[in-house]
Symmetry: C2
Subunit: 282 residues, 2 copies
């Protein structure tokens, strides 16, 4: 039966032009390739080379064989990949969320409910998250709205409320609540990786500019050292300490006070039971 190793040697020979260079490239001795090529000719029952006393080259049939060998090797590679991918998919629960905060609750819950599964999460905008669940490319979606379709299950499990954070002396500091139209025009410090929040800020405050910080350390330093307003929410406990000197002013617009829904395919009901045990602020 055909030997993929020998076919790889054949292809390498075709790429390099000589057996010696091919051998070097493959970290095998040169006589080994000589033998492999002879063996391939035996397998095919066909002559693949024109041989001189100290040179060898592909004949037309050999060229054809190389072409076919490339194809077969690719097929073999894809085979392994597709089996591994399938295996991985069976051991992975993938979650796409439109916001970071829900993941802080959902991922640990999934990990402990499915200890031998890999939990893979990604943060996207609202519409991409919706696409992911509808196309089946993720098992679980976290959205700010329900999917009203019997093929999907929706669970409301978390509420998040946006506030703006300003230093004591700031113009906004005396307000007890604000709306986006009042905030529009101010410039803000913003973290990256915010999911739908990012887009929502830009839509509701089109005149504002956002200084997006990718690096957490720099973000914190800027909060301490500048008087630029930033945002926080009831769920962002990690920043409580950083923001303790600032004043929190709730944003009252409904878009700034969202309910998160876990959405999954109705075949995957088991997931809903895990998420049902979270339920915060409801």
């Amino acid at each position: 039966m055909l030997n993929l190793n020998e076919l790889e040697q054949l292809v390498t020979f075709a790429d390099t032009g000589t057996l010696s260079v091919a051998a070097e490239k493959l970290h095998i001795s040169q006589p080994t390739i000589t033998r492999s090529m002879q063996h391939l000719e035996d397998e095919f029952g066909v002559s693949l080379f024109t041989r001189g006393k100290n040179k060898i080259s592909l004949n037309p049939v050999g060229i054809k064989a190389v072409e076919e060998a490339r194809h077969l090797l690719l097929t073999a590679e894809n085979m392994i990949k597709s089996v591994r991918d399938y295996d991985k998919s069976l051991h992975t629960i993938s979650v796409t969320s439109c916001a970071p905060a829900p993941l802080w609750y959902v991922l640990p819950a999934l990990s402990s409910a499915y200890p031998d599964m890999t939990i893979s999460s990604s943060l996207k905008g609202s519409s991409e998250t919706m696409e992911d669940i509808l196309s089946g490319s993720t098992h679980l979606a976290i959205l700010t709205e329900e999917i009203k379709d019997n093929n999907y299950l929706n669970i409301a499990f978390l509420k998040e409320n946006l506030s703006v954070c300003v230093p004591a002396g700031h113009d906004l500091a005396k307000k007890s609540s604000v709306t986006f139209s009042e905030l529009n025009g101010f410039n803000f410090l913003l973290r990256s990786e915010l999911g739908f929040w990012d887009e929502m800020c830009r839509i509701n405050m089109p005149s504002s500019r956002f200084l997006v910080q990718t690096n957490e350390f720099e973000f914190i330093e800027l909060i301490k050292e500048s008087s630029l307003p930033c945002f926080t929410t009831n769920l962002a406990k990690a920043y409580d300490n950083v923001l303790k000197d600032r004043i929190n002013i709730p944003v009252t617009n409904p878009e700034a006070n969202v309910t998160y829904f876990l959405v999954c395919h109705s075949d995957d009901k088991a997931y809903t039971e895990v998420i049902n045990q979270i339920k915060i602020n409801l």
Copy 2:
């Protein structure tokens, strides 16, 4: 690297359900298959089976792997076939003829001019012969007309003249020549494998019936024992002895007196030089 033998064992296991039966089917020992399956799991880096103490079966990933393995094995088989076919095509001169007689001259000429080539011939009707050369599925065609196209070369090399053969007492015996319209309505003995002659007889003698004999021996017996008319030509020397007691009457219609042309692609000019040395009756 992946081993096609092991993949075949995997597929056989999938087909048979147990390792032992698969081993028997493949004429190898059963421990060998056990090892191969373990080795495959190593190669893939993935579990393919669910194992009980004395039973083993495919898990979902294994089923996927089997599916992929079948595909890869087919690809490998096709690869070998296509390389061999290509080699064969380089060592074969194929001839399609619209009549048997020209082949009696052309095939020996080609064999001696190209002693290490395989000469493959087939006998077809006029239009199929034409298609074969135009589609490139044959190197050489033998036709009763030229192809007037610069991409093809035509050589007239042989003429064949049809006669009807009747026993001495037959109604037609006294004629010195006949036409198809005079023959139409008589029934004839006919050999099979006549190329265009067969169709031509049926078209020109629509009221006649033809008793087609596939077997040479039976054909000869029927000529001797019956008074049914049959056909011969100036080239059919092999039947001279069988027909020596019959009377030959030439058929005068132009369709019954043909010139054969060898037609090949103009790239294959070398062939014309071989055929140029035949030229009979010209």
